[in-house]
Symmetry: D2
Subunit: 151 residues, 4 copies
């Protein structure tokens, strides 16, 4: 759907230029018109508790917030396919999280976690997303809901 | 209020053994019976966007979640002052975030950020907290609400 | 799955004895092991704004909270199928909402609204649910997330 | 601060024309530049559970959502003091709740409940509020956080 340059630009921006996404090791796997997916590989520095080897809840909230924003960004990209590439990518910097809710369902233990986000509604000023944080066995570990300002 | 060993033990556990708290540089400043405060110093790897030098929203959500948990932990510590030190510290590992909401009010730009959390209610099974993320000028940058399971 | 008397007892309790559910006209349509559905018929006294004939957001939050609680109650009922009827129904009174989030996606205009709730996780102390508020045309008007204390 | 006609117009609109506010018996007590307060008197039809004579959580969420919106409306009124009265009141109809979180702290039992809301931030497109639901004895029974679209 997107030209390879847009995808590459988005990946570079999201995975490298957003420094903290790099800290938590958040990588994009797939970009669809109204949903995105990615993953985080477990590393000891992401532990929330040394004894239990559980992922810190903050990695989950940070990852879900970032993925919700990415889903919105892609949906905006679809809406503005007529715009030049650079202009579409620049819209990323204007996106802001209004608020975020995370429900922690089960301990996040394992080697790799999958993150999914989809846009429930993209308005002209506000977008709302639903996010999921999933274990290697497919179990739902956490869910998220967030609102973003778009402009 | 607390014996120095409890405070030192809590600090070590929170700032060092919770690995991801070390990644975001979260440090404890004060521990009261039903409120706690701490800070995070800005570093480029915590940026959410390279161009704006803004703190990543995930650092805010991770920090507020951790501080809410700390406030609950301290309140539990007060309730169980009769228990031996090690037993009180062990309760920390049993604490779990049920859910978290963060409202992002203003861009988090600056060199140091203050975090505060207070316990709204400590029940026998669930605790609820209110959190604040504050800029160097005293401006409220984000607020949080969270529920924790205690046992 | 459930004996008719349990279903009838649950319906009476939910639709009539919970007085405010009667005020908003909330009716049960289906009860499954981990999901429930119901509906609310529009009435002028449920308007949030006279001019727009929109449902008040409070009817949505009240309805979603109640439906999430019902889904938990049914899941508890399944877990305790061995208990006498009266004892299972009594568990309803012990259920309490810890917190609730509602995302309002689109104006709720129309003659009838459908509400759905499903249990994401039923623990021994806390249950988490996801809820949806749907228009006559099948459009998602609002979503909800809630945590309940169960005992 | 406001001319009596604006206050009277706002009261009529909020307490009477928003039909569902009348159903829950929500009345305005005070209007300040960035905070408002009101109350709800207990009535049996607002019960969440007949046996416990507790207020239904939906009355709390509906009331807090409405009060947050009122606080935003008043803050907008202050910002547009130069506009004619009718135009300022008309802005009320354009306000929409983006999302709402309610934390239920203690059972709401009693004859009268006080509701307070204050604006944490009023932007050009989004406003964020904090709300409190208080018992006759001054105890905090529930807190709320909400985001509103303003235009």
């Amino acid at each position: 759907m997107f030209e390879p340059k847009f995808v590459a630009g988005l990946k570079t921006m999201f995975e490298e230029k957003v420094a903290f996404n790099q800290v938590i090791g958040l990588r994009i796997d797939a970009l669809e018109a109204d949903s995105v997916s990615g993953h985080i590989d477990m590393r000891p520095e992401l532990f929330g508790h040394y004894a239990h080897q559980r992922l810190h809840g903050g990695v989950i909230s940070a990852g879900l917030d970032a993925m919700g924003g990415l889903a919105v960004m892609v949906a905006i990209g679809v809406r503005h396919l007529d715009e030049p590439l650079a202009q579409r990518l620049q819209r990323f910097g204007k996106l802001g999280t209004i608020d975020l809710r995370v429900d922690y369902l089960r301990p996040a233990i394992g080697e790799r976690f999958e993150l999914r986000a989809n846009v429930l509604r993209l308005g002209s000023r506000v977008a709302t997303t639903h996010m999921e944080f999933i274990g290697a066995d497919g179990k739902l570990l956490a869910t998220g809901a967030a609102a973003y300002i778009v402009s």
